[in-house]
Symmetry: C3
Subunit: 187 residues, 3 copies
């Protein structure tokens, strides 16, 4: 089973981008998965209102790809965090499904998450996790274990709000006490 968590937005324009009201919805179907750990992490990190759309689906290429497309296009998520399915086992197809659903890969995410994970365990090189975007929705592959998830999110999240802004998604901001958003100063 693969877990996907999406943070939904309502196509805010630059004018009303702070006004979209994202109420937390009931998280269900995440029994035994790292979804709750990710949801908790987002709750600590995000300083903007948002709505969660958490789904647990069977492993596989089609299932993950189709769910990503649905969450990006129909549910209007501007950020989807997947968990699990990034290893070398035959059932691990989340990176393939991510690239199939997305328009462009951003290899720096995977490189950094693997580099940080390597400080914990040499098997980090087995992860094929990556990030890519489908239109205004950024998709980031996270590992399966909660400890690794925290490590990876801490590493890449400072760049996520600016990334989502650049691809035309919602305005995201974070609690700098927990994780600091960085936006390059415009020249």
């Amino acid at each position: 089973m693969s877990g996907l968590i999406g943070a939904t937005h309502a196509h805010p324009t630059r004018q009303n981008r702070h006004s979209h009201h994202f109420r937390p919805r009931q998280r269900r179907g995440l029994r035994g998965y790292s979804g709750p750990a990710i949801a908790e992490w987002l709750q600590k990190a995000l300083s903007v209102p948002y709505e969660l759309d958490a789904r647990v689906i069977p492993d596989g290429f089609d299932s993950v790809r189709d769910t990503l497309i649905d969450m990006a296009d129909k549910a209007n998520c501007c950020l989807i965090l997947t968990t699990g399915g990034t290893g070398p086992a035959p059932r691990d197809l989340t990176p393939e499904a991510t690239l199939a659903a997305a328009h462009r890969e951003m290899p720096g995410f995977g490189e950094l998450m693997r580099a940080r994970s390597l400080e914990q365990t040499p098997t980090a090189i087995l992860s094929r996790q990556t990030a890519a975007h489908r239109g205004a929705c950024l998709i980031v592959n996270l590992p399966g274990s909660p400890r690794s998830i925290d490590l990876c999110l801490k590493a890449v999240f400072p760049a996520i709000p600016y990334c989502v802004e650049l691809i035309g998604g919602a305005w995201i901001d974070t609690d700098p006490e927990f994780v600091k958003t960085v936006r390059p100063s415009k020249k």
Copy 2:
């Protein structure tokens, strides 16, 4: 000329995975190549019986791809280490041939080997070495020089036995005095 060294296994089941008898075969055809250095390294590293299948073939896309496929499918190798052919020169086609023979790439191997090699020389960024698997066979591209080979193997080998296990290959273990195998503890 490209060198390829495969460690063969006999499709061991979980029951008999320690019983497959891999006798060292005569290594021939490796005159002047780094094959012997790799073979020696494996002899120090592996604590399980294994059989070597060492081949030296002409550089080129078809030659390397077809040999990889033959070693994986017919010779039942669960690990193939290539040497050479990863640079930017026109004759260097080992990474291309590897990806053509394989089902899925694992980019973390190349990233780590380049990062480690960079500590020795800035030209490490010219290496296009990668790793990928064809079914139950892991293929890892190593550089040509013995010193770099040791550096690269020391970096990635701790994760190789677990990787080969995950893709359904043989049970591999190593002498922890020489290189320590890491397998994540199951939850």
Copy 3:
């Protein structure tokens, strides 16, 4: 707008590779872009005569790809440094255009430039910059800001002269006081 700077050579043979006279041409069309910063950097770095071919073109896939092909094939550049267009915004298509114009990617360049840039800012992971070669011409994607350009060039330039040599381009050498060229000693 995207900037491209090519260092031209005249297909020097091994015999006359030091004799090609590359006079600096007038640099024009680089108003407000990082082209001048790159040109200055090259002037400090290169200890061989060379000729610059600097072009500013509209952003886009076709425009960048076609200009790269023209600079490599018609203008005989052996090194093209692009600036800008590597981010996740929809108009950023320089890496795609680079790969479309090139024969083979060298992922180590992008990995190292992102790793170095990460020491400055977490948004470095958003860069999709890479390097690739089209025949005897090496193409390297640089970021848009002058400070990042210096950082990236300092990181990868030590390997560039040897790389251009391997792909059959001109003999390049650098002022070791500014940036030291590394060529592995032949065995």
